[in-house]
C-alpha cells in the first residue's frame, strides 16, 4: 500500500495544455501514472501528449468519460481555487494544487468548502506526491525515488528532492513522499499526513521536513508523540539562520513575534522522540539509529 496516490490513481490534469501542465503531465505519464484526462475549457475534443490523453472542457466530462478519481491543478493563481472546487463538484475526493501565489484569504473559504465536501486538498504551492514504483502526481522528479517503506512529508520542494535523494543514495526506499506546500493556509497538514501514514501497513519509518513559520511542526510533534511512539522517525528543519520578520521565499516561511522559529520546532520534535538532523544528508543514518531496519 501507500497513501494518497497508488496504482489505482486515475488522474485528470487541470490546465494540461499550459506550459507547466504539458511538461509535468508528460513526466507523470513517463513515470507510469495513469493520466487519463486533461481539462482546458474551450479545448475539449482535442488529444494531447502525442494523442495519449484526451482533453475535456470540464472536469465533469472528464470524470464521466474516464472515471478519473484524482485531480492535479496547474491553472494560474486567479483561477486555481475555482479549479479545485470544480474537481470536487465533479466528485473527485483527492485534489493536488501545484499552483503558487494564491491569496491567503481565497484559501479560507476554499479549505472550509473542501472539508464540508469530505474531500482532501493537498497544497496549494506544493510539489505533489509520489508513491515510488506506483504513481506520481505533481512535479517531484521521478529519478530521486526508490521503492521502499519510509514515508516522507515536507513543506518544501527542492529540499524534499534533496532529502529523498539522500535516502535513495543510502539504499532507503520510500512508500510515499508528500509535499504539503509552503503557503500559510494549506489543505492538508503535517498531522493529517502522519495520520494517513499511521494507517498504512507498508510504512515503517517516517521523515518530516519542516521549515520556519507557523506551528504546524509543533502540532505534528505532539500528535506523533501520542500516536506514533513505536515507529522510527526523524526530521529536518530549514531556517535555523533565518532572520526574524523576513519572508523566506515561501509565503508561510516567516518568523513573526518570536514564534515560528526553527529552534521551537526542533525542541518540540526532539521532546516528542523525533531525532532532528543537522543536514538532509544525515537523515538516512539518523533513521537507522532510530531503529529503522529497511
Amino acid at each position: 500500500m501507500s497513501i494518497l496516490v497508488d496504482r489505482d490513481t486515475r488522474l485528470v490534469v487541470q490546465g494540461i495544455t499550459g506550459r507547466e501542465g504539458q511538461f509535468h503531465a508528460e513526466a507523470m505519464l513517463a513515470y507510469g501514472t495513469a493520466v487519463v484526462a486533461g481539462v482546458t475549457p474551450g479545448k475539449g475534443g482535442q488529444q494531447t501528449l502525442g494523442g495519449r490523453v484526451p482533453v475535456f472542457d470540464s472536469v465533469h466530462q472528464a470524470v464521466d468519460r474516464t472515471s478519473a478519481n484524482t485531480a492535479c491543478v496547474f491553472v494560474p493563481a486567479a483561477a486555481a481555487p475555482d479549479a479545485v472546487m470544480e474537481a470536487i463538484d465533479a466528485g473527485i475526493r483527492t485534489v493536488f494544487c501545484i499552483t503558487e501565489g494564491i491569496p491567503a484569504l481565497d484559501m479560507v473559504p476554499l479549505v472550509a468548502a473542501v472539508g464540508s465536501a469530505g474531500a482532501r486538498l493537498i497544497g496549494p504551492n506544493c510539489p505533489g506526491a509520489t508513491s515510488p514504483g506506483r504513481a506520481k502526481v505533481g512535479i517531484i522528479p521521478g529519478s530521486v525515488h526508490r521503492e521502499g517503506r519510509v514515508g516522507v512529508v515536507s513543506r518544501s520542494g527542492t529540499l524534499t528532492y534533496e532529502a529523498v535523494q539522500a535516502m535513495t543514495d543510502a539504499g532507503i526506499g520510500q512508500s510515499t513522499c508528500v509535499g504539503i506546500g509552503g503557503d500559510p493556509i494549506i489543505g492538508t497538514t503535517f498531522t493529517d499526513v502522519l495520520a494517513l501514514f499511521a494507517e498504512d501497513p507498508e510504512t515503517d519509518g517516517l521523515v518530516l521536513i519542516g521549515e520556519i513559520g507557523g506551528d504546524a511542526e509543533e502540532q505534528a510533534a505532539a500528535w506523533a508523540a501520542e500516536h506514533l511512539a513505536g515507529i522510527p522517525k526523524v526530521a529536518f528543519i530549514a531556517g535555523r539562520t533565518a532572520p526574524e520578520g523576513k519572508r523566506m521565499g515561501h509565503a508561510g516561511a516567516i518568523i513573526s513575534g518570536g514564534s515560528g522559529t526553527a529552534q521551537s520546532k526542533v525542541d518540540a520534535l526532539e521532546a516528542a522522540g523525533v531525532r532532528v538532523a543537522g543536514s538532509p544528508t544525515e537523515l538516512p543514518a539518523l533513521l537507522r539509529d532510530a531503529g529503522y531496519r529497511g
Partner: protein, 393 residues
C-alpha cells in the same frame, strides 16, 4: 507588504472606521504648517509620530508631543532624519494629541492553524499584545470569523462586551466588523488597532461641553504579497524610501532575495533548499551573505540578475551555487555560470553544485571551465567557507 501607519489609517477610513484626522509632513516647515492648522481647529497639543515600518517608535524617541507650532517645528527637527532600528525617518504624521480616557487592543489576523480570520481583543490596550498573551492570556478574547460569512453581528457584540466598552459597545462592534471588512477589501493578513481608545473631544468650539468617542488611534496593516496583483492601487503604498535598492531589483526580477551580514553569497533554486544552504554554511563555520531563491525553472535572465545582486555586496568573498535540477536543466545553468563569470568584474571564487536533470553534463562543463564543484551540499558549504577564508587571508 508592510505599509505606513498613515496609509493604514487611510484604508480604515475608506472602510468607514473612526480615525481622528491627521496630516503627513516631510519637512519641519510642513510640520509647522500642519501643527498650525491642527491647533486652529481646536487642538491644544499635537503629536508628531515618525513614519517607519519598524516597531518600537515610541521607545526610540520617534513619537513626541508639542504645545505650539514653534515647539512642533523643533520636535520635528529631532525626529526627521533620526534612525530607528537602522531606518531613517523621512516623514512624520501630525495629529491633534488625543485626550485618552481608556485604551484597548483589537486586531484581525490570519490564523494559519485554524485556517480562519482570528479576532483578538483586550481591555489592556497600548501595550505589546505578545506580552499580554504570555503573562495574562485570559485577558485576551479570541474568536474566529465564519469562513463564508465573515464576522457575524453576534460575534462582534460578544467581542465588544468582552472588552467592557460600556456605552461604546455598539461602536466597538462596528469597528470589529470594520477590521474584517478592511482585511477582505485589501487582502490584508493583519489589521491591528493598538490602541483602540475612548477619547475626550471638545464638542465644537462654541460650547464648553466635551464628549467621548471610540477611535482607532494607531493602525498597523500588512498586505498579502500574493494578492497585490489584484490591487494595483495598493502597490503605490510600497515605501520606496525604505526599500533597499537590491530588494527592489530582486522583486522586479522575480527572485526572493534577503540580504544578510555574512561573506558567502548563495544562489539556490527553492526556498526550503535556500534556507538549508544558509544553515549549512553557518554549520561549516561561515556566514551567509544572503538568502536567494531563484524559483522553479529559473531562466537565464533570472540567474544573471541573481549574480549581479550577490556581487553588488562588497562583503561577499565566495559564492555557493546550489541547484537541484527538476524543471531546471543542469547543463543550462552551467553554461549560464560560465558566461556570467567571463563578464564578472570582481574575481570571487565560486563553488558550484548541480544535481538532478543533466547534472553529469553540467559537471563536465564546469570542470572544463575549471570551476570548483562539489558532490554533496555539505561538501559545497565546507568548500565555500574555505574559499571565503582564503580570500580574506
Amino acid at each position: 507588504m508592510k505599509i505606513q501607519e498613515a496609509d493604514a489609517k487611510s484604508l480604515l477610513l475608506a472602510q468607514g472606521l473612526p480615525v481622528p484626522a491627521w496630516e503627513v509632513a516631510r519637512t519641519t516647515v510642513e510640520v509647522r504648517a500642519a501643527a498650525e492648522r491642527t491647533m486652529a481647529a481646536g487642538a491644544t497639543q499635537v503629536v508628531i509620530k515618525a513614519q517607519v515600518l519598524v516597531g518600537g517608535r515610541g521607545k526610540a524617541g520617534g513619537v513626541k508631543l508639542a504645545a505650539s507650532a514653534d515647539e512642533a517645528e523643533a520636535v520635528a527637527s529631532t525626529i526627521l532624519g533620526m534612525e530607528i532600528k537602522g531606518i531613517r525617518v523621512r516623514k512624520v504624521l501630525v495629529a491633534a494629541a488625543a485626550d485618552i480616557v481608556k485604551e484597548y487592543y483589537l486586531s484581525a489576523v490570519l490564523d494559519r492553524s485554524a485556517r480562519r480570520i482570528l479576532l483578538m481583543g483586550s481591555a489592556d490596550g497600548g501595550v505589546e499584545i505578545e506580552q499580554v498573551a504570555v503573562e495574562t492570556p485570559e485577558a485576551i478574547t479570541r474568536l474566529h470569523a465564519d469562513p463564508y460569512l465573515g464576522l457575524l453581528d453576534h460575534q462582534a457584540r460578544r467581542l465588544a462586551f468582552a472588552l467592557e466598552l460600556g456605552g461604546h459597545w455598539k461602536a466597538g462592534a462596528a469597528i470589529a466588523k470594520g477590521l474584517v471588512r478592511t482585511m477582505l477589501a485589501y487582502d490584508a493578513d493583519l489589521v491591528e488597532i493598538n490602541p483602540l481608545a475612548v477619547v475626550r473631544e471638545q464638542d465644537g468650539a462654541a460650547t464648553s461641553g466635551s464628549r467621548e468617542r471610540l477611535v482607532c488611534l494607531d493602525a498597523k496593516v500588512t498586505l498579502d504579497d500574493s494578492a497585490l496583483v489584484r490591487h494595483p492601487d495598493l502597490e503605490a503604498l510600497r515605501d520606496s524610501d525604505e526599500e533597499d535598492p537590491a530588494d527592489r531589483e530582486a522583486r522586479e526580477a522575480g527572485i526572493s532575495f534577503i540580504k544578510l551580514d555574512g561573506t558567502i553569497g548563495c544562489m539556490v533554486n527553492g526556498a526550503g533548499l535556500a534556507m538549508t544552504t544558509m544553515d549549512l554554511v553557518k554549520r561549516a563555520g561561515g556566514d551567509p551573505a544572503n538568502f536567494l531563491d531563484l524559483g522553479g525553472g529559473a531562466r537565464a535572465d533570472k540567474r544573471a540578475a541573481a549574480m549581479r545582486l550577490i556581487l553588488a555586496d562588497p562583503k561577499v568573498e565566495a559564492i555557493l551555487v546550489n541547484i537541484f535540477g527538476g524543471i531546471t536543466r543542469g547543463d543550462e545553468v552551467a553554461h549560464g555560470l560560465i558566461e556570467a563569470r567571463s563578464r564578472q568584474t570582481r574575481d570571487v571564487p565560486m563553488i558550484v553544485r548541480i544535481v538532478g536533470t543533466n547534472a553529469e553534463e553540467a559537471g563536465r562543463l564546469l570542470r572544463e571551465a575549471s570551476f570548483e564543484t562539489a558532490a554533496s551540499l555539505d561538501e559545497a558549504a565546507t568548500k565555500a567557507v574555505a574559499a571565503a577564508r582564503g580570500a580574506t587571508a
